[in-house]
Symmetry: D3
Subunit: 227 residues, 6 copies
Amino acid sequence: MRLLLVNANTSRNITEHLAAEARLSLPAGWQLNTATGAFGAAVIQSRRDCAVAEHACIEAVEARMADCDAVVVGVSLDTGLWALRQTLAVPVVGLLEASLLTACLVGGRYGLVVMGRQTVPLYRELVVRHGQAARLAGIEAIAAGAPEVYAAPEQFESTLADAANRLVAGGAESVILVGAVVAGMHRRLQPRVAVPLLDGMACAVTQACGLAGLALPKPGAGSYRLS
Amino acid sequence: MRLLLVNANTSRNITEHLAAEARLSLPAGWQLNTATGAFGAAVIQSRRDCAVAEHACIEAVEARMADCDAVVVGVSLDTGLWALRQTLAVPVVGLLEASLLTACLVGGRYGLVVMGRQTVPLYRELVVRHGQAARLAGIEAIAAGAPEVYAAPEQFESTLADAANRLVAGGAESVILVGAVVAGMHRRLQPRVAVPLLDGMACAVTQACGLAGLALPKPGAGSYRLS
Amino acid sequence: MRLLLVNANTSRNITEHLAAEARLSLPAGWQLNTATGAFGAAVIQSRRDCAVAEHACIEAVEARMADCDAVVVGVSLDTGLWALRQTLAVPVVGLLEASLLTACLVGGRYGLVVMGRQTVPLYRELVVRHGQAARLAGIEAIAAGAPEVYAAPEQFESTLADAANRLVAGGAESVILVGAVVAGMHRRLQPRVAVPLLDGMACAVTQACGLAGLALPKPGAGSYRLS
Amino acid sequence: MRLLLVNANTSRNITEHLAAEARLSLPAGWQLNTATGAFGAAVIQSRRDCAVAEHACIEAVEARMADCDAVVVGVSLDTGLWALRQTLAVPVVGLLEASLLTACLVGGRYGLVVMGRQTVPLYRELVVRHGQAARLAGIEAIAAGAPEVYAAPEQFESTLADAANRLVAGGAESVILVGAVVAGMHRRLQPRVAVPLLDGMACAVTQACGLAGLALPKPGAGSYRLS
Amino acid sequence: MRLLLVNANTSRNITEHLAAEARLSLPAGWQLNTATGAFGAAVIQSRRDCAVAEHACIEAVEARMADCDAVVVGVSLDTGLWALRQTLAVPVVGLLEASLLTACLVGGRYGLVVMGRQTVPLYRELVVRHGQAARLAGIEAIAAGAPEVYAAPEQFESTLADAANRLVAGGAESVILVGAVVAGMHRRLQPRVAVPLLDGMACAVTQACGLAGLALPKPGAGSYRLS
Amino acid sequence: MRLLLVNANTSRNITEHLAAEARLSLPAGWQLNTATGAFGAAVIQSRRDCAVAEHACIEAVEARMADCDAVVVGVSLDTGLWALRQTLAVPVVGLLEASLLTACLVGGRYGLVVMGRQTVPLYRELVVRHGQAARLAGIEAIAAGAPEVYAAPEQFESTLADAANRLVAGGAESVILVGAVVAGMHRRLQPRVAVPLLDGMACAVTQACGLAGLALPKPGAGSYRLS
């Protein structure tokens, strides 16, 4: 079985970073392939970046769709998720979506830690779009953006842990560390936070491979059928 | 003052049709310019079509952004609306969004008549995304898709009027005729429907020009600032 | 075209103040007429004030309904709005309602700055009643009530700007300055606030005249038909 | 202890009818007084009727407020309820509000049977205004309006029972018979309906007298304090 | 008429305490009987405690169901409420449910003061389960758990009053003091809080006896019929 | 790795049926153990049944908790789920919960097919309790109850398929076949339904084993910590 991990931004080093994390969660019997966006932003940070990356993401996946059994969209804004879910016959799962649903299984309400205050509205809207607002305890942003944290993650550990702990104090029973570039950081932060820390990549790989195992048919009706 | 009407699909005849309708609602002192998507679907009908058109729409507008005072996104799925609103300094308004907000001023709950049953989920999700679900009475689809209706609108008048009247029976106090290609059909259907019929183009032109009149500053914070 | 501005309280000086502001937003080809409540409170501040003013507002408008093409209810609690919308054949728009809908077009969630802590529940309920709670970021009150601010607006500029900025810090992407008596203050406060400040009167006049331009028919069914 | 029943419309025969029903639910130790609106509609059926009756209701109660320990607003649109709750020191309860809250204690979701299709939006909005939409299974209207049913109630028993049974089929676990003029009809309809039928007057008298027994203090803060 | 008060935990001293409070609200003509859980926790504080107590509560009541006209479940988590409501022919009312509904009649939004921070999610979920989240202003927890407060209530008066006042500052127009073990403490705290303080036991006894007075039939359909 | 499947009712033949289905979805490297409720109903069909089974379920699992790495609660009402999630250190997943979250990954809104009309309210409440109502398209019941269908499943295939297709016509983009006793029936019904049919057991086993793979720590704070 082959899992295709698509990075919707154009940074191949981020693709490699994501792939390394994805492999840690890959079930037995699965191999990982990757694809990277051919145009658009180096790191997706704005509404415009996300819209252009959606197109890049679709094209990157469609070039590889013949040889995969499941797809993980390796972007925390779930860029292109809905379009790919329509055009492909195999499961497609996004990082944020997978985190939200997995957090539901942990129990109670969850919080999100995001990078860059101007991204808070984007994630809040995305939670609503997924129909998951009822379980959202809150969103805490750190001031630094994704590129800064990616460049020197160890410098932001305390800031991120503090944000997570503010969410716990506000009632979060699990915390999602949001952002493809911080995939894997949950391992170092977990000892500082009293509730489970969820990593989007681990959740998405698990959900995508699990969903492939259910072998559901492609819809023949509705908005996800092949048009 | 110059209003830019962008058609996110690639059909120039639809652009002309939309422009003719837009001119009917243009306030005194405004002129209309148009732009058309350079790539993507001839008529947007699916999730993938919409995602690609979002990119085309952004590029089409950005090529013209120097010479406009407001933008109407002439697509009933409000394709590219959020990205354009971030990157432009002038107001950007979508057809569905403008219809929903205008319907609120008419009073009570509104219904939507859409073309193609598989588009119902897209419009329902869009209403939620705009935060307007509390006023939605229902969505009725006719079986025919947008291209069919565009080709022979007079053949679908009864079907569309029936759909509108089902919504009225279910409590709708106004009805939005959804779809760029049916812009203007409300004039012929109104005599058959007991509540106001709203046309997306008329609403969007009115709202965009009205918003330009308020002369609000570009945000310097949040998710709509220039990144 | 004639716009009727009704002030539901009994203070003619407030009517004059509102009219001066309304004229600043009046489109070409429109003239403004005014009406003032004949009984009730000098400034509406409580639930009882609002209920009595509703009756006064209806009577004041009905006495003038023959000679107007649109009505703005010049009270931030949208007093009498629903009743007038039923009895009149022309558009009727309220200050808060118009602000909320216009803020949706600006993008993201909005915040409200209100005067007098005891009015917060009234505005929160009104946002819900308009079906607009999904876009509400928060409501901030200043301690001073509307009469105090009206008497010496310049003394409250800093307090109002601070309240607006608290909303921005909490995620508001636009801020509505609520209260008929502060109509126009947004011009002086805007330089201190990083997101667009919306003025109810400017929004309501624009929406009412725009709606009149759509020339929608009076409903023949539902709760807004003439009984 | 003295319960004041106010009829917000101007029909004294309806006041008498309501009073007779109210006495059936009056706890030991309570006596009933009545008040009737001095101006407005004979039967409240529209948004305008309701707005004017709100003023009449406030004046009718305030003339009697010295000699009562609780107030029931005997109108199914809860006309004037919020204003009276602010101005009085004793409990004030409305017919619909009391029915909705009592239905919650019966369990599950409830349905509403209303008279006149054009009143459905008014009751739906009222349920939302009370914050009770989460438990609403549906609203069914009969075509006849309140005056017709009041004039010949026995002719509408089957129609009303059918409406109630449609709600039960749709998941309602209790049904509220809405309308002051049908107070008491539940006794004759109950044998035809498989779930409990709630009568607004019985619920409101019980809730108002029960609330008086709790002897809660008048708020000194918030929107219900004396202004 | 006989009211059965069931304490779902196994502490007979708490049963006695609750009974003493219940008697203070018992209407004329009613006598009080009590039942106590035969197995489970001494004080219910966790999800597991609550689940086991549900069974104990059902058995304790069913042993006495022949001789009662109404039941109050004397636990602030409304343990067993829904099951008992199905199996009994008489009204069954829970402490939290009764408080929430009574608070609605007081007006505006209410706040909850709870004991033990880890119980906040349980009460938040319970408010949602009752369909009452629309009126919830917030929940404030004190650090001490129910057993500690029960052991020395006077030591926690200031802490509880502070929590209530934080809710009032946040917009609560009434405050519910949550927890069977604090039944009656509202009398001493009320002078320190500007809005009405609601006591679950007083509310539940009043609602249960009031509901019995309505003499509603047992449902013959739906999820509350006898299976 | 060991997965414990608990059947909360007392029917060992159902346990065997469930176990056979569970094994079909068990990932490589996992073995299945089972437990059965020691007291309560043979098939859970009512609110009381569910409450008692919750206790039985907890006891059955706790007797085995030393030797398992994940637990599936094999009851479509998710009986005991929340209590077990608190008391165990390993993941606990319920059938309905797992189905709802998996359906979210399929895309759009989902429908539920349930057995016995009186169970509709229970499942609707459960969807709300899981915070998943935003994605619910509807619930369709067949008249026959779970025991009847379990006794002769082939007789109900058409009835169940019809119910699923009504949901698809109403906008469901996937359908969950609800009920432990129908585990596996989706294989025979899928050819008759145009959208994916989800089986609770397949979803729950996949989610429970996937969640175990994430190796999340036991919460040290909140309502799911060990008390």
